[in-house]
Structures are given as C-alpha cells and as structure tokens.
Amino acid sequence: MPETMAPPHTAAAPARTTPRRSGALPTARSRRRYRFVLAALVVLAVGFGWGLLAWDNPMPPGTPGFWRIAELRGTSVVVMLVVAFCQAMATVSFQTVTNNRIITPSIMGFESLYVAVQTAAVFFLGAAGVTAVQGIPQFILQVLIMVGLSVALYGWLLSGRYGNLQVMLLIGIIIGGGLGSVSTFMQRLLSPSEFDILTARLFGSVSNADASYLPIAIPVCAAAGGLLWAHSRRLDVVALGRDTTVNLGLNHRAEVMRGLFLVSLLMAVSTALVGPMTFLGFLVATLAYQLADTHDHRLVFPVAVLIGFVVLAGSYFIMKNVFYAQGVVSIIIEVAGGSLFLYFILRKGRL
C-alpha cells in the first residue's frame, strides 16, 4: 500500500505483541470472564438440580429407595430443563429477529392465547372441561393452534404492505389484550369452584406438568433449538437490522420468518407444558446478555439456557423448601423478572 495510507501516528505505533483477531470475545479478560460465568452457572445448575432431587429425601443417598424418590422428582427437573431451554432459546432469538432487547414472545399474545384456551375449556365444558384439555392429543392440538395462529399472523403481516415489525408487535399486543379481556369476561361468569380449578391451572407450575407430554415435547424442542443453533451465525447478522442483513447477502424476510416460526414452536411447547411465564424469558435474555457480554449467539445461547434453568430450579427449590408453596413458582419469577424489567427500563431510560 502507498505510504499515504499510513499517517504518522499509526506508523509510529509500537508493533503489536498479540495477533489481531476479531473473535466474539475480543480480550483475554473477556474470555476469562465468559469461562468463569459459564462454569459458575454449570455449578449452580448442577447444585440446584441435585438439591431438588436430594434435599429432604428421607432415604440415605445412593440407596435404591433414594433413587426411587429422586426418580419421582426427576420429572419436574426434566420439565424445568425443557422450559428453560424453550424460553431461553425463544426469547433470545425473538429479540434478535425483531431487533429489540425489551419485547419478548409473551407480548405476541401467546400467554393470553393459552389462558383463553384454558378458560374457554372450563367455561364451555364445566369442571369436566379441565380433564378435556389434558392428554397427548390435546397437547398437540394446543401447540398446533398456537403455532398456526402465530405463523398466520406473521405471514400476513410481514408479506403485506404493513410489513414491519412495529405494526406486528402492536397487533400482537392488541390480540393479547383482547384475548385477555375475553378470558376475564368468561372467568367472571364461572362458578367459584370452577374458577378455583382454572386458577390452579393458570399458575405456571412445573409440578402441574404432565410427564406424558415429554416424549413429544423434548424432540420438538431439540429440533427447533438445534435449527436455531445451526443458524446462529446468520442470527448474528440479522441482529444488525434489515438493511445490513440484506447488504451482507442474506434474505432478511426468510431469516425472520424462520426465526419466528421456530420461536413460536418453542413458546407453544413451553406454555402448553407449564402455562404462562411472563417474565422468565425477559429475565433470562437480559441476564444472558449482561453476563455473556457478547453479540455472538453461539456464546449467548448456552448462557441463557443455563440461566433459565438456574432461575427455575432455584426458585422452585426456594418455594418448595423455604415457603412450602411449590405450586406457584411463577410468582417468584414474576417478582424478580418484573423488578429487573423496571430497573432495566428506568436505568436505560428507553426501550
């Protein structure tokens, strides 16, 4: 290159001792920090997981009786893993394709849809209806309804002349609010006993989850999560916004649609499994970006999934062994997630 290209101050700079590399974690310090965060999260996750299986277990560890009790509790740990995986992968990807760090899939009316389906079942079928929304066919039906509705909504909104995400999100909020109102209206008309049954089902609860759903839920999550993982380098680009994505040679709309489809699949499985978890996704994604401190999805995804599991297992452990109220884990997550949400918005001062 000609000499004019290197101005004096650059030319005089001392020779670099380290090779210039681009990587997702630019400095040795950030790499150490990431490894520490990952290790700490693994330790916490294993700790809480083991705690849930072994704490208060009347049999001495290692005996057949101990394992039998642990096996019974193991289902809820697996459910927590599935939910943490779904919520973490879905929320991080959703925030990437919608190019924001505040809105989560819950805002697309997912949870309202779940509440509406459950309420409608109890409303129209009575207390007997609760049993009607259990079982594998109903689980699949519920997932299909949710994915179908969201894909129809995305497809319609993103292909037409309203092809922008703000409009889509606004319509998502309106549909969510509308479904919420319909549900509230139906709940008003329920008898107290029916309402009681419904409320118990609407609290996000890993202890309510039906283990017979897992053989379907796990492969679906693994497939959707695997695809998101396989496309994580593309997601890195999509996070830069539409114009940059197109400039770098990707079909932005295809990337967004695929991302949203996989997100709706993951969210549908999670919601159908344990009910609404409004702030879990936000909590997980926000903490993941804070702790991982990188834009690289391959590094953010594992941190997010681990945080999700630690939060779920941790709050479940606390609710079960400190407050003796294991049915309402979502309360503690809503409190922690909601506080973080407020703190984050007040500190940043913008969306």
């Binding site: 210039r20 681009s22 680009v237």
Partner: protein, 251 residues
C-alpha cells in the same frame, strides 16, 4: 459499471421516481446531488437492492440486481445507509468483521483477518479497533461503518450521505478516505452528498437528481455552472473560481 434502464418506483399518489435511465461509469467517485426529496437516496437503495423497483431494471457490473441472488450480489456491491443503529454491542473490529460475512459466512479465516486489519488501518481506526461503537464519536463511528463496507471487498460501494452529521474536519477526512479507496483500491464509489462543493472537489462525476429524474450528468466542470445549479436546486447559485476549483455560492 452501474446501468439503470427505465427504472421507476411509485409510492401511490403523486410521489414517484423515474423513469430513470443512466449509467454510472466504473472507477472513481460519482456523487448524487439534488434537492431534498428528489429521490437520490431512493435510487441508491434501489441500486443496492434494499428497495425493490416497480418498473425497469438495474445492472451492477453486468448483474441484474432483481434476479441475481443476494448472496452473490453481496460480493459485487455493498451499501451503507445513513442511519445505522445496532442493538448488538460490537467493537469496531467485530463490526468490520461482519463485512466479511459474504465471503466467510461468519467463520473468519486468516485471509479475512488480514482484510479486516487492512480495512481498519485504511480508515485510521487501528488504535480504536477494540473500542465499542457506543464509545466512539460520530465521526469515528461513521469511519467504522465505512471500514465494514470496504472489508466486504466489493467493486462497487454505495454510501448514503456519508458526511451526514460530520463537522468540516471529519467531512474532509472522510472524503479523502473515499478518494483513496477509489484510487488506490480501485473501487467504484457512489455517494449521496448534500454539499455541492464537496461533490465538485472530490467526485469524478456528478449526477443531479430532481423530482425523481436524472436531470444532469457530467464532470464537475460541466455541472458547476450558474445555469445548471440554479435549475437543479431551484435557488440562485453563483459559481466562482476558488483557490482549489469552482465554488458554488448560494447564501
């Protein structure tokens, strides 16, 4: 070479672009100038396939932008929009690294790293490459974006108002960088510019756009006349001879 053939775009109602037919020659800097709302940026974004065309065709280096796959076009033409806001927190080097995506699909090789380093040094960002974008001044950030599109290593580079929000000193530096990119790296650069004097001094060709049509195309010497500029900008303009070429005076 960029060829526009009967290119049109309508926004329903009376606002429309085209039909426009003209050629941007290979090499050097071509400046698109014209009044606000004339369609300069629209034309640029259509060439960069960020915006579809309603009628006509655009070819960049012989490739039709509508039918060539976006993946291949990303190695032929790069475009930088005026507003760039990323939710992701990136260092300068990470940002410039994204410019290599069309070539490496995100797996940076040693060659990619070299191109990135060269691109960063080219824009004098060597000392800042580890900084995060939100720690930079507007001028430095703008240089980082330009470094990204240069790292993309395309023959044609489209820049939408690269001098926007830059002060005198940074505007001059930016134009000198672009000049060197055109001369030393052999890139064909198309810029939308508001300051006609910058265009006259640094560009090889000036293309005047008005009401969605190309009304003048020529060398700065041909465009920098009282009559042409007054007609294009609909405001009285006088061209005087300055110490470094013609100057438009219009205050």
């Amino acid at each position: 070479m960029i060829t526009l053939n009967e290119v049109g775009k309508s926004y329903g109602g009376d606002v429309e672009i085209g039909p426009v037919s003209f050629e941007i020659p290979t090499g050097g800097i071509t400046a698109l100038v014209g009044p606000n709302g004339a369609g300069k940026s629209t034309l640029l974004t259509m060439i960069g396939r960020l915006l579809g065309l309603d009628t006509g065709a655009i070819e960049v280096a012989g490739y039709d932008v509508a039918s060539t796959s976006s993946k291949d076009l990303a190695k032929i033409v790069s475009i930088l929009r005026q507003e760039n806001h990323f939710t992701a927190r990136l260092t300068v080097r990470q940002l410039v690294g994204f410019g290599r995506f069309p070539h490496s699909k995100g797996r940076l090789t040693t060659v990619d790293e070299e191109v990135i380093s060269r691109s960063i040094d080219f824009l004098n960002l060597g000392d800042l490459e580890g900084r995060y974008l939100d720690q930079l001044s507007g001028g430095q950030r703008q240089r980082a974006y330009v470094a990204m599109v240069l790292a993309q290593d395309t023959g044609h580079v489209l820049l939408d108002e690269p001098l926007n929000n830059l002060d005198m000193r940074h505007s001059v530096q930016m134009m000198q960088h672009l000049r060197r990119a055109a001369e030393d790296l052999g890139r064909t650069i198309v810029v939308v510019i508001h300051d006609i004097n910058f265009a006259a001094h640094y560009a090889d060709h000036i293309c005047a756009v008005k009401d969605g049509k190309v009304v003048e195309f020529g060398t700065p010497g041909q465009i920098m006349t009282d009559a042409v500029l007054t007609r294009v900008f609909e405001t009285p303009v006088q061209v005087i001879q300055g110490p470094q070429g013609p100057l438009a005076v219009y205050y």
